[in-house]
Assembly symmetry: C2
Amino acid sequence: MSHPHPELTPPPPLPEGGLRVVALGGLGEVGRNMAVLEFGGRLLVVDCGVLFPEDHQPGVDLILPDFDYIRDRLDDIEAIVLTHGHEDHIGAVPYLLRLRSDIPLVGSQLTLAFVEAKLKEHRITPVTLAVREGQVEHLGVFECEFVAVNHSIPDALAVAVTTPAGTVLHTGDFKMDQLPLDGRITDLRAFARLGEKGVDLFMVDSTNAEVPGFVAPERGIGPVLDGVFAESSKRIIVASFASHVHRVQQVLDAAAAHGRRVALVGRSMVRNMAIAADLGYLKVPAGVLVDLKAVDDLPDDEVVLMCTGSQGEPMAALSRMANNDHKVSVGAGDTVILASSLIPGNENAVFRVINGLTRLGARVVHSGNAKVHVSGHASAGELLYCYNILRPRNVMPVHGEVRHLVANGALAVQTGVPADRVVLAEDGVVVDLVDGRASVVGAVPCGYVYVDGSSVGGITEAELKDRRILGDEGFISIFAVVSSADGKVLAGPQIHARGFAEQDDVFEDILPELTRTLEDAIAQGATDTHQLQQIMRRVVGRWVSGRLRRRPMIIPVVVEA
Amino acid sequence: MSHPHPELTPPPPLPEGGLRVVALGGLGEVGRNMAVLEFGGRLLVVDCGVLFPEDHQPGVDLILPDFDYIRDRLDDIEAIVLTHGHEDHIGAVPYLLRLRSDIPLVGSQLTLAFVEAKLKEHRITPVTLAVREGQVEHLGVFECEFVAVNHSIPDALAVAVTTPAGTVLHTGDFKMDQLPLDGRITDLRAFARLGEKGVDLFMVDSTNAEVPGFVAPERGIGPVLDGVFAESSKRIIVASFASHVHRVQQVLDAAAAHGRRVALVGRSMVRNMAIAADLGYLKVPAGVLVDLKAVDDLPDDEVVLMCTGSQGEPMAALSRMANNDHKVSVGAGDTVILASSLIPGNENAVFRVINGLTRLGARVVHSGNAKVHVSGHASAGELLYCYNILRPRNVMPVHGEVRHLVANGALAVQTGVPADRVVLAEDGVVVDLVDGRASVVGAVPCGYVYVDGSSVGGITEAELKDRRILGDEGFISIFAVVSSADGKVLAGPQIHARGFAEQDDVFEDILPELTRTLEDAIAQGATDTHQLQQIMRRVVGRWVSGRLRRRPMIIPVVVEA
């Protein structure tokens, strides 16, 4: 297998009749998924999602795919195909449509409904084309056949893109639950038919490639919920993802079966489930849904709260309940169910929530102590089925960190795909499909694009480093007014510090030396305020690291009066 | 079970003949373990460890138990009993000995050797008393019998403390591996004998109380290592905890069996294994250990590097190898084994390391894809054995977050301990054992004590909040020199900002308005610089939140010329 090539050079021109694939996100991280296909000078975008920041990216709101590669070619884009409605696949659409608002959005009914609700908040009305599984659309030079796949959100699609260069099958996110709640399975018949015709490049979800075996059916969660509901004599609070229609469906069904009413909590939960119910994806048992305001009038054993915050998000309802600062107060005997995965990096936040709820006397049921969650992504066993039924000519693992991509590639090789036909690419790596063979031909710049307050792309690693220093070490500002004419410090030096254990007065110890050093410097002819500022920085910096053992950010300002 | 009581009041005096137990750390967190036992006006301390900070505690080096409760009673302390040599049990000893350096340290040979090495770095020579399992020592009024327990470090001890008030059995950290490498099992015979005599209070490790079943034997890891070694044709790098003597032992044995030499990497790894080898706890096969400098001269298939950094610590050797900035360069065909647990909160850092090593072409074996780690703490199945063999009169779960303590208490109740005899306490909660009955009688203040640079206890939640704001939102300092006499701004206003996406010049847009507002204020009679500073803060704050959508820390300084 060809390993990722961080050191690649710019690619040569795309040969006549060849297809080019460049991922602008999603290869090397789980998030901001976006692939750009090119044929005959025209472009097709598959997905356009966001990535959520980690702790070493303080203050960052969102991370976007890097649009630089297509910024000057926006008019060449035929359409954006959206495989499903998760944030890591649709979240960046508003930012791309800001560059060109009339790029057609192509996706299933539910996917488009979710993205349109999001675009409304950005005051954008998109051009859309709704498609169903089995449908074939010619998007310019790209013939797209849409294939039903099963995932943790309804109405997900894979897309087979055919051009004279061959057929690319992009799975989007998928698993192969054989008994899904809505009966809509991943269409292996279509996979088989496409395989018979020949799949030249298979772009396949890698998220669970490291996980052996098969994902348990979503259906298996219902009986577990039933059991928990049966044991609960007081209120039940369930937290899950705001787009997991089938998980919410099973909570509604369990509530109906146990004579409980359900109030939805959290803006995104309320909005998404309203959409899903309108379109018929969520089947609400008669009279089960009630308004949050109404639950206070219901006895505890008739109440279910369905909320967000299963990842410990501090502002979400569940975290605030755990901290006892939410209008819903959790107490002894209440049951809280975290019907969700624990996304890596969120452990401390989630355990803080579990500890807080436990301290309040609640029983907390979570994937660590009960089968209340199944993954939405195919495990190794399912991926092997796909490789064997498709027998793709070339494989490009997508949607994962490097460890996931490598594990997925290894599965392909185990099923007989030649190692030199497995392309391991990262964001920005250029893969050309020419004469039925996919290969890495170069790379284009592809950085992290940070959304930060009102700024998109303004923050760089340098500012993040500044923030980490500010957060870890604090800062000191020093201010002095000098008159180089009479060689005196007229006002100050004043020191203002934040983020220190010590009170401000500790810094008074250094002021006399600071004044002396400044006046000496002026006496020796230093007039340039920049030079005097460097002196202040050096004196205070040395003193702080010796006395306080810290290396804060220091901002010296000298004003000449 | 009595739940934790955050709202408790100060305790009444300890009744004549009663025993008092107060944990100053370790109840409500995994770390900074410390329990204070009191009888007849005398104190016995069990363990004195550190807690490592989380991401919401930026810049903090360590977290200590809160010594305030004993600060005025240091002379009443008979001794500090150290159950084993892990940082979360011995790490805070230097800070307590700074308050009174001649408090005797009581522990096993290896435990004392580890703590003495640490104290040496703090230039403290302690008074020590080495004890062995089976030994009985009278530490003032406290009769202490030491009992062998099995853990992830050799020579761990439980301690049974008998006073006229009854017998307290404190397990320290333990599990019940029935076939440990060193043959030193947890002494259930002693547990049984103590149970027959009567254990009035059982203070028991809760870490794995939520985990059903039993911990697999450490011995089972050897064959897994053997298999990985057999498949490896190039270098092997193993990362684990620097105090895990038995894990290192198995790596040395596997290396010897496969004709490889082992170089220890990392200061703590080198230091601890030298101590363990000197004292005979680590049995080094002849000629297996080599110096790191020597490995360059060895063929790849004869090299093993045993290093620290299994938790993704950025400065540790392994992280630097993953970033390709360590003298040991990892390449295609190398094998890296993370023979360790994944401590919650470290996931992102560890996965960054795994991805980095994978990108370099290494095969990474970790507890997620192979049985290369077992826990050091008893699971639910083992704890049930303990409760049944001891039949304690009262139970106080220790060593865990609230969720762990509650789960452990539930196990006690399942074995027949009356629910009202299970005391769920958090740090600072006062538990009195009087007439054979343990109960919560109050609480003393017990905060987090942060070690931060040279400051111990100086940092409060307020400074941490400042740091989080600085890190997330950045800061702005504003300077102006004014003359209220002639109502003018003589110099400035100048704005200096850090942590922003925008360049400094963006702030020039606000300067005219700022000057105008200041001069208006002076014209209207404002002379107090504090008042003018508030005006600058308000003007800039409003502008920044509107224009940049951020809420930075703002430091305004006005000087009257």
